[in-house]
Symmetry: C2
Subunit: 281 residues, 2 copies
Amino acid sequence: MSDHHAPALPIANRTVFFVSDGTGITAEAFGHSVITQFDLKFKQVRLPFIDDIEKAEDAVRRINEAFELTGNRPIVFSTLVKPDLASVIFKSKGLHMDLIQTFVAPLEEELGIKSTHTVGRSHNIADTEEYKNRIEAINFSLAHDDGQSNKNLSLADVILVGVSRSGKTPTTLYLAMQYGIKAANYPLIPDDFERGKLPSALPEFKGKIFGLSIAPERLSEIRNERRPGSKYASLENCRYEVNEAEAMMKREGIRWLSSTAKSIEEIATTILQEVKPDSRL
Amino acid sequence: MSDHHAPALPIANRTVFFVSDGTGITAEAFGHSVITQFDLKFKQVRLPFIDDIEKAEDAVRRINEAFELTGNRPIVFSTLVKPDLASVIFKSKGLHMDLIQTFVAPLEEELGIKSTHTVGRSHNIADTEEYKNRIEAINFSLAHDDGQSNKNLSLADVILVGVSRSGKTPTTLYLAMQYGIKAANYPLIPDDFERGKLPSALPEFKGKIFGLSIAPERLSEIRNERRPGSKYASLENCRYEVNEAEAMMKREGIRWLSSTAKSIEEIATTILQEVKPDSRL
């Protein structure tokens, strides 16, 4: 989790392509997790919306050009569902990593039925309930950012608490955007620590509260970018707030994690496991 | 793009597992795009953070339980980088779709080097420049939502324009969250149409403006959820605003797309292709 001081990787004179009939987001995310297993830096090119023969032939030209330019076979991760488009891409001079064909064939055998070769179904979320849920959840999270509103907190799936700048806002937006989860967030501030109590709107919702904490050193760094030299950003004050917030969460029996060394995705996944707001989706 | 009236799929008495040493987001996204090739509805279970032998053995127990419960082999998509963890999972009674091993081996041969078997490197973004960029971009997008601020528009990578409720906010947040792109958004309102001009803050940034339009019928539906029966939401007014906005974008030479039948991901990918704000990332 902490190779941010890792030396720069040697550059491979080789291009990696992510070819998709949709956005290519899945092909890229997956291909990226494969190539990061090698200590080499690759030039990476996403080719989305390859959904007819002409575009596929154009993609082949680009792959072959990269071969001629570098003298090395490009690596091609593709998620083309339609066999006729996939077979055009197979003619390129790249090394083919076809995600769909590799796994669909054994599944057809296991399930005893044929696949439908339907493009982009997993992304077909416009006009559906799921799409509406996401937009609604984003609006909810924006309206309930930073304790702005106590209205409709009962409708929240999750309520994040933590000191200012502990990562609450990006996490609530991610939960809304990716999972359609209505996530409110509520800051814990010095007033709350002096009173020694959770903000008064919260106790009745304890079952869906989740806390974020953060290392005081990191918090001070982040706050100093916004308000350099302020008391708010001082290490001393950050230590005080973090200690108080953690003590309060322990006292109140609130589950929490430290966001310091975690990505937004990791924080969101942990919250999903702990609070299980998706169990009713 | 329009099977939202598709009949409910028959339910397969079979569980699909997504097993990962990280969040499992990639395994799930990819596995989902494979299983949606079959006209069956599966029970789906994500098992994230499987990063030691004990957790792997626990995952095996859950997979085997699903086998006993259903009488059908579960399907297991896994992205376990460490061979010792992967080999524990392989002992389960599931049908194994190992994304890493399947593609890493041929790549090792092609590249002539061994993979590093390093866990979660592609998600290792905490503490890095990339992570900071994303958080900064989210803050920028929030501060520049709905034309709230003209300050620092010169720092924006993209400025989205369009009528109210055309999908600008979710798109800017997605661009920020996924790509660290600073995206502002600016509404086009009846005042602008009467003046026949873009909002005065915008013309100097025309190179990075991108427009969203939407079918008037859909817009009216969306607006009616917020303000039922209002003039704002009426089909007549929505037709007027959409026509005027599209005419203005054509006149001003602004690239645009219709968000009506598109997912947030598809809109964002198209913007990346057109405006190329990531070329300097």
